[in-house]
Symmetry: C4
Subunit: 424 residues, 4 copies
């Protein structure tokens, strides 16, 4: 049984609408009714590692620095060959120390800044709408935007974030990264570095809304809060939050009347119990991933070949989730988007209530997106996807769960192949 598992890396050909599919199994002499169990196509189809290196995309092969680079990237869990354009790769400027770092960290940097942009627009829109509510001096006489503006903010934040992140395949959301690993054969090794980049991005992005820099935050952690108010006074929405809360430095958490903590992260409506909070996040996350998989499915005639439309479609998708499922729990649907800013709000003085509010709601948007997205991906693969997926293996994938030997064997084979390609 020759299970050749392909190595997914980032696509170099985002714009050419071409998708690679598995070749006809003409060279595989396996018996008919037994399909290969784990031949998952990459969500983001790409030249394989080998094709990249023969095309010379790695920095001057055989070169010592290049070997170092590959080793660093492998340690980070990334594909050893950095996703770069051919022209740039050979260029001398890539041999500068910082350029090598940037190439080694390319995908995490992209995710980090994508999430920063997303959170800046998202949290920024909440801040503007919340803090200016009812201000009669606004043009139009009724504040600087209604709730709908928040749908716009998060929708276009995700859209522009995807443009910034360069379609890294991680989509600014650990749950989507998770499902790409689970259903689309993104190696699990990739998950930790993307995950950390996403959380950090959300932490920093939301910090710009209230505290200008990580430096400032570090000072705040190790010193008395009151002395250091001078620098923090210059954060974007710092004075506005003071003005809204009514007293300098007062920070309150919903359901307080002048609460501003929901600028940072989501808080549920008071009439929901924990199970209902969970279901609301679960369903929104399942819809999110179901549609993302449809938009990225090369076998789906409706969208698979329209790669350039993906960011715009994500705008409509996120806008829709905000407009249709945003009321009850604020459509977190993203651990990074919720946990990072919540941590920041804890740091800047909102107190432990950010964790205890809503019946210790904070864990719901950490867990529900993963389970919801996994369920959405399961449904999509079960009913629509015809490509390679664990669902398209015997017993719609449950053989992998129920037959440990089967799964172990697959895992072994995949490792073997990674070793052959010197990835580990």
């Amino acid at each position: 049984m020759s299970n050749t598992i392909e190595e997914p890396s980032r696509t170099h050909d985002y714009g050419d609408n071409s998708f690679r599919h598995f070749p006809p199994a003409s060279n595989s002499p396996s018996s008919i009714p037994k399909p290969e169990p784990f031949h998952i196509e990459a969500l983001h189809t790409v030249p394989t590692a080998h094709s990249i290196s023969t095309r010379g995309v790695s920095l001057s092969e055989g070169d010592k620095s290049s070997t170092t680079l590959r080793r660093s990237r492998t340690l980070l869990g990334l594909s050893p060959d950095a996703p770069l354009l051919e022209d740039d790769d050979y260029h001398e400027r890539q041999k500068l120390w910082w350029s090598r770092v940037r190439i080694a960290m390319r995908e995490p940097f992209a995710e980090f800044w994508g999430v920063v942009i997303m959170v800046l627009f998202g949290d920024g829109s909440v801040a503007q709408v919340l803090l200016s509510a009812g201000q009669t001096t606004a043009p139009g006489g009724a504040g600087f935007g209604p709730y709908q503006t928040i749908s716009w903010g998060w929708g276009l934040g995700v859209m522009l974030g995807i443009y910034v992140a360069g379609d890294s395949g991680a989509y600014l959301n650990p749950a989507i990264t998770f499902c790409s690993c689970l259903f689309r054969q993104l190696p699990w090794r990739r998950f930790p570095v993307y995950f950390i980049a996403q959380i950090l991005g959300a932490f920093v992005g939301s910090g710009i809304i209230d505290i200008p820099s990580a430096l400032n935050f570090i000072c705040l952690t190790y010193n008395d809060f009151r002395y250091l108010r001078v620098p923090s006074r210059y954060a974007v929405y710092y004075p506005a939050i003071d003005w809204f809360e009514g007293a300098p430095g007062r920070r309150s958490v919903p359901p307080a009347e002048k609460a501003t903590a929901n600028i940072f992260s989501t808080y549920p409506q008071p009439f929901l119990n924990t199970g209902q909070q969970f279901v609301s996040e679960f369903v929104a996350s399942a819809i999110l991933l179901f549609v993302v998989f449809a938009l990225k499915d090369p076998s789906n005639h409706g969208s698979g070949k329209n790669d350039k439309w993906f960011p715009l479609c994500m705008f409509f998708l996120i806008f829709g989730l905000g407009a249709c499922f945003g009321w009850e729990t604020g459509y977190a649907i993203n651990l990074a988007r919720d946990f990072g800013p919540r941590l920041m709000s804890y740091c800047v003085g909102y107190g432990t209530q950010v964790w205890s509010a809503g019946g210790y709601y904070f864990w719901v948007p950490m867990v529900a997106p993963f389970l919801g997205c996994a369920f959405g991906g399961f449904l999509y693969d079960l009913f629509i996807f015809t490509g390679a997926s664990p669902i398209n293996t015997p017993w719609i994938g449950f053989k992998l769960l129920l037959n440990p030997r089967h799964a172990v064997q697959l895992r072994h084979e995949r490792r073997q192949r990674y070793a052959d390609e010197s990835i580990v």
Copy 2:
């Protein structure tokens, strides 16, 4: 008279902007002033069944499983050859039992999930706007969205639903499927399976808004309602509806003051009589189909070659119908979107008023969309469409209606041809 009628099936080449037209009638020795009466081009032009099978898209021809598959699809009323990409077809994973089911049911599954997504966003937006109206704790201080948000919800629901459904040609609406059969030679055999999939999709989609699963619904049907409130309490908008209505389990229908039944399906304004309700739906449906036919007309220089723009244009079209014709009767314009959720609302306890409200309004959005869309299609084909259509036959198609022998003969010829291609 050699009336060769082509078999329309689903397009494989959604993205390449190519449209097939009828070849010049060079090989048809028919006399000049007598055109073929029913040479309708497919709305979604495609490789014919033959061209598909010679390109090998059917599963290993001559194979027993493939024959079974073709037979199953024919029984369902679908094109015997499943719309699949070549690469996937040969793949072993397609020989798994579930994969074969999925291929057999491909179009109904696509329609089902497309409608689910559409209804989730559409009904979700109504629920959020209706239930949160005037909530002063919302960011902005005035609820989680105005009426306009509902236009967004349905508009982007249709857009994303079309992406999910893969441009199956049925467009998530039985009335559009109906007009594709009537004017664009989609075989009538296709209609029932699409119809059932669409109704079921709307039923299930709206169920997720208030009741989490069909399982739950089955329990409710065969048991006392009160005992089973525990699981249903975890539906997405269940607690919110309770909160809004003011008492657990209370469910009321417009024109009651705290009515929530219009989350599910449409209810007319009180100043309309039945005829006026009918006209409102009729005109909106006619506009819908007129524009859809324009957007899909390969002979229309404005849009025929812009296939990738179709989902976005549908967003604007549905948004516009909601913004311009959504007040009086709620722009149902779709039997599935209105009847499925209405049935669900009846099941979850809104009582018989869901049928009797508005002077037994419920039948209007079941009948008017079909007649309105047919009229819209008639107008488009009469004044603009130059391709094959019953309108482009003698007596602008009325010969088919008034001369039964003519129509019977055509029907016979079409059957003959289906038999030749072993479709029935």
Copy 3:
């Protein structure tokens, strides 16, 4: 002096982004500093009449019916060769009586229905917003849409209307047709038939809002109004207007408190005098045409090659005019859009006030759009356009105005050429 003036007709290649430019003047032996005075490139570049006929797009040349068709189209002022796809042209169905009429009337039909769709969405949005204002039973509790919905309605009405009209080059607005003749060498013979189609389209489109059919209107004209209220009661917004005005059949014109005439056509704010009304329409029209010319300029790197984006850009442009210049006079910017519905409102019982309101304002949106658009086109051609335009002739075109002999000579040459190509 060999002034070869090209014949513009409708583009067949809307989708391929190709634009034809003048060939290098290598074969023109004219002296250097004297450019040809009127070499205007078509706004909608196309195969010339000759290239069409040699490609066989006309119906079976030499055929009697084809000659009739060409003669009919010439009489209407249209290009003798109908804009059709090659495949369709040869098809027998085109020889049916009605098909020939449709081909003869192709462009007027397209314009008519494009304007109908535009006005349906535009006036429909005004009707919905105006009549439902403040209705607390609406989802969200504040009517079915704010003023912004009207920007959406007209914006997407124009966008979808352009898709329906197939980019006929007339753009649903007599002032744009006028400027295409003035600056982009669309023959003046085309103007009357487009003009009539546009006015009729707006008249009929607005009629659907209040009176269901022209038939009904004819009845109303020749009979007592009260007897025929029965059929008219079934118009889309008829009952709603009655409900809003407070008495059946009452119809009032701004500035009456419950006025509904502005559903049909525009009425100015009361603080404007006639000159100010004129300036407001003039500036909005100038912006309209300036941007339209930019979007259609093949020598403009920003937009000239993005034909598929044109309808979407028009959505943004019309939305913007409504959002930024729509308050004072309602951004008519279109004789057809304003005069057609105003006539309809007069017919359905609003009385002579529709003409006298606002200091006989009705003539302003008839005259200002032409002058404003002409000024906008003048500015664009003066400062940006490098192609053929009267502005790009000696004395920036004023030689044509000031030297009658020069203009007469040009007119003679153009006629000569039309005769050579047997257009007249």
Copy 4:
């Protein structure tokens, strides 16, 4: 060390998605670890001056007029070869006096009119929203647009302005031009002429909102204000401002209750001190440039090859800045957009308060956009951009700052190369 620095000029191939990169340094015998320090790729990659002239885009080379043209353009700081399509260049009409002026001034004219369109929509939307606030006679009963309409106005103003300006690379904002010079090797010589065109455009554009013409303004400057009110009464929003302020000719500046000066330029919220005003503008500007650089980065897989999407993405970006960072200081983020209209408002009678309001706030939107954009560009190039940029030189560019000799040498080399190509 052969540092060949390429000359960026305007792209002729906006639509073909091709981007030029540096060739592999095969012909450069420089030692390996020392990269060329300043090999910056153009933001708007283009045929070089040489490739243009060999392709014959300049007007009849060797011709006297052509030499004059090149000299005029060089004097203006523009690329000597005008960006024109080949066909147009050879055409005789280009030899008219005014055509030559237009070609010489092509980029400034484009920037000027792009800014005019941007400011017309932007300031127009503010005027409409501000002046009509709360008007109950509006359709919908609540004025002609909420604050969100202003986001639309500026967003689509920038989008349509970019279409008009033809992707000149200056993007209607001196800060973006500045960063293109700083990071993307647009020659600094280009900056002044773009800068002047942008300021003038904003001045004139805002003038149309209140005073119809520059002529009128000149009269106002040299005469008594009261006598000349007659012509100015016909400006677009002149009567509306009078009506809103409550007395003819009264003009007041925020925080006055009926202030209208913020139609023209931005004024900060009262709770901000100068530093906080600065930070707000700084952060918004940094986001602006960060995303613009991402959208224009050919090495970014997410967006670099989607040139046709750029104007639409700018709509979303500007909309987002308005929706998320527009409250505190009005998101000027553009010296031209703020200073030009502010000067106009001073001229038309708002008095010296336009300068002193907000603690002499006027200088903040003149300085902060430059620093903010520079910081945003620095971040993008530091973390994501792999092409040529000062950041991709030794010591991430600080060697250029800290080692004057190094910078002088580079400057010398660049001048040398300009001289070789006879640019100066």
